[in-house]
Symmetry: D2
Subunit: 137 residues, 4 copies
């Protein structure tokens, strides 16, 4: 999170939310994107990959959505706040769906356990950001 | 759209919406993603790029969101329908925001005019898909 | 390809290669990216998905590489020609690897047959672009 | 890097290179992708954004290439080693091109200074990985 916060501190735009909450959310989005991607590939390498197909699909969907949410939050521009709220909400839903599925496999597969944890952190960081941004625009 | 429809026809999953509406929406999402990306780069090449910064930012945001929406819609998996609805709604918002901004520059820049048109088509295709999918899940 | 060519025509930058060859390559990169992504998901939906894991992995790798190559080629900027050549070469390798794997399943799965065709078109379009760009920079 | 290394440790595939070098490279690719993206947006927010257009373009190209390289390296599959080498080389070129441009603005803009540093770290991590992987396949 340190590097992202340094970049946001150096950004000339006015950032209207608590910068620690924003930096943490961006970081968790990107971390979860990467972890989901590796979890998908790890699931494919298991001898019973067939039974992990739903997990792989949710990993891929969640990874894509976390990544685009992280990118969007990295970009300033105050006029598009409703759009951003909606994208963050989608990211929460994706993290919940993927986290729930990974949790089912967590006792068998360490990568699923780690991924479920990442999804929970991402969900919490997105929820904290939603609470921190102004409701009306 | 022909190629995407062929792929969806060859997909073993049960597709619960009108396949033409789905294929058209995926295609418009990806087309708009590409056009937004080129519009951003074209804006940067204009001698008054400084006055087009808001347009460039919205191009990049809209391009990213259209692309991830197209990818998500390309993937089957019936349990995540609310998530998909939410992502489609975000894509409509992004297309509106980017289209409105591009339209302001449409008389000066052909790339903005073409991009505004693409955003309108994407918005319509996403709205048509939202109407076609079942409301409850 | 028509829409991408229109956008390139409207771009203020000087495009140093044949614009039809460039537009065709960008289009094939993006089309193949989408088709690879759908093929990956379709493979996951087959009852013997386990035997298609290598195909799914190559679909995902090829899809990512085709997409980033299409994006990079959509962006002008003359100084980075060696970098672009190298990325196009990687895209050719990815299309060959994915196409070869898909071809093995083409008689069983129509989505693999269509994907193998897309990979071949992408490989040809990238090769044509490599021949069209100046060798030295 | 800790989280990525944990995921690679939990991956069932045989990883043929030093896992610390691989995890470090993946992490630097993703970190640099994020920092490039924020640098592009920060440059757009500067009052002389017009003079930073080349920097913005290279930020976007480098960000895309770092991200796809990180994703590709997160995925196992031994048969595609030449392809991976080539993508890593492209990532080195992109990091050099972007880092050199950012360095020119480093005394004026802290975000460019931080981005130039990230690009250098990414270049070094990619070079270290290239040295660690077997030359022939």
């Amino acid at each position: 999170m340190k590097r992202i916060k340094e970049m946001l501190d150096a950004h000339p735009g006015e950032i209207k939310v608590d910068i620690d909450i924003l930096a943490n959310c961006i970081q968790e989005c990107f971390d979860t994107a990467q972890i989901c991607d590796i979890c998908a590939d790890a699931c494919m390498g298991e001898s019973d990959a067939q039974s992990l197909i739903q997990c792989i699909r949710l990993n891929l969907i969640c990874g894509d959505i976390c990544e685009v949410t992280g990118r969007m939050l990295s970009r300033q521009g105050g006029r598009d706040l409703i759009l951003k709220r909606n994208q963050i909400e989608t990211c929460i839903m994706a993290s919940q769906a993927c986290g729930n599925e990974c949790r089912r496999h967590a006792t068998h597969y360490e990568h699923c356990r780690l991924c479920a944890e990442a999804c929970r952190r991402c969900e919490e960081a997105c929820s904290a950001l939603l609470r921190a941004v102004p409701v009306s625009v």
